[in-house]
Subunit: 201 residues, 2 copies
């Protein structure tokens, strides 16, 4: 039995991502976004939504570039700090003692201590309402050696990313592998009588 | 030390969401999307990206409506089936024995057995590349009583949503609460010498 809770942004899981930018003086900034997600495979793109009042909004529109960093649980405190202070009046990297590194492909900094970064050039800007969506083309992804598995693929149990619960304003962690995609569904067989008659022969 | 892995869509966590639609004959369909995310607070909006070849793409453009369902780990097999078959020739609800229920506010079905659904009307369509992004305004969110906490808020440990690892083509689970948002960061103090001189006085 379902009950209405109103028009709520209740996505589970909702990713916690850190957006890195430079301002017009080359000063690095990092902010937290929970409104974002991959939006295209080719070109590979990720979208982040920001309010126009943010420092990062101004920086992206000026530099046409940003990074999307995936933080580890280990840096929960720093990430929450990034999300609760403004780069307009605070040097967040100095306060948190985290390290900004200039991306090799775009004019934006990434957070050295975070395990994964996607370097993005601004591809499209979509005005929606309170938030504006920036679609970035991912030009390169860099992964910390420390979170690579023996098979040379990133290992989510080493990355230890986390999620945002918008309803409770809480963070929660991720866990372990539970199944192979494009495989689990094969355990379900389609009986012939559940075939549809195509309406476009 | 970071190493380049190429331009990859490596978002962690990446949500597994199920998109519900009707076709022009009123037949319900469900597909899986991993490219999606919340994109605006007001109006509350969620974006899902689809390839034009999909049945759901056609349905959304015809009905201007869709639902975004959050599945539980319990239905991993059914979800993967939704993602590996096409509604063009298969009645996925009949095969999986899951129940389509017509939304109260939009012309789209939701999956009765899944704990959360957001009912969406199509607000914007954004052509990006291989994928087209549909931005839906969330008109209502419905939550199963069974996943409500004692405080009448959804409890993620009862919802048991899961994530997609695009790099490994694997699913992984979510865990428990690890901290309060807008609180953890307060444990970090800003020394006066890390204040920035505003460049817009």
């Amino acid at each position: 039995m379902k009950v209405s809770v109103g028009a709520k942004t209740t996505l589970y899981p909702d990713p916690v991502i850190v957006v890195g930018t430079y301002d017009s003086h080359g000063r690095p900034n990092a902010m937290v976004a929970a409104w974002g997600g991959i939006c295209c495979s080719a070109p590979p793109c990720i979208a982040v939504s920001l309010r126009p009042a943010t420092f990062t909004y101004r920086n992206i529109t000026e530099q046409n570039a940003f990074t999307v960093n995936i933080p580890s649980v280990k840096y929960l405190r720093e990430v929450d700090f990034f999300g609760t202070t403004s780069g307009i009046d605070t040097d967040k990297f100095a306060v948190t003692r985290l390290t900004p590194v200039k991306s090799s492909l775009v004019n934006a900094p990434y957070v050295e201590e975070f395990p994964i970064v996607m370097e993005c050039r601004l591809l499209q800007t979509v005005n929606i309402g309170m938030h504006t969506q920036f679609i970035g083309e991912i030009l390169d992804t860099k992964v910390d050696e420390a979170v690579m598995g023996a098979d040379r693929k990133p290992d989510v149990t080493k990355i230890q990313p986390f999620c945002y619960d918008a309803f409770r304003q809480e963070y929660y962690c991720t866990g372990t592998a539970i199944g192979k995609a494009f495989f689990e569904g094969k355990k379900i067989k389609t009986p012939p009588d559940h075939r549809r008659t195509p309406d476009h022969p």
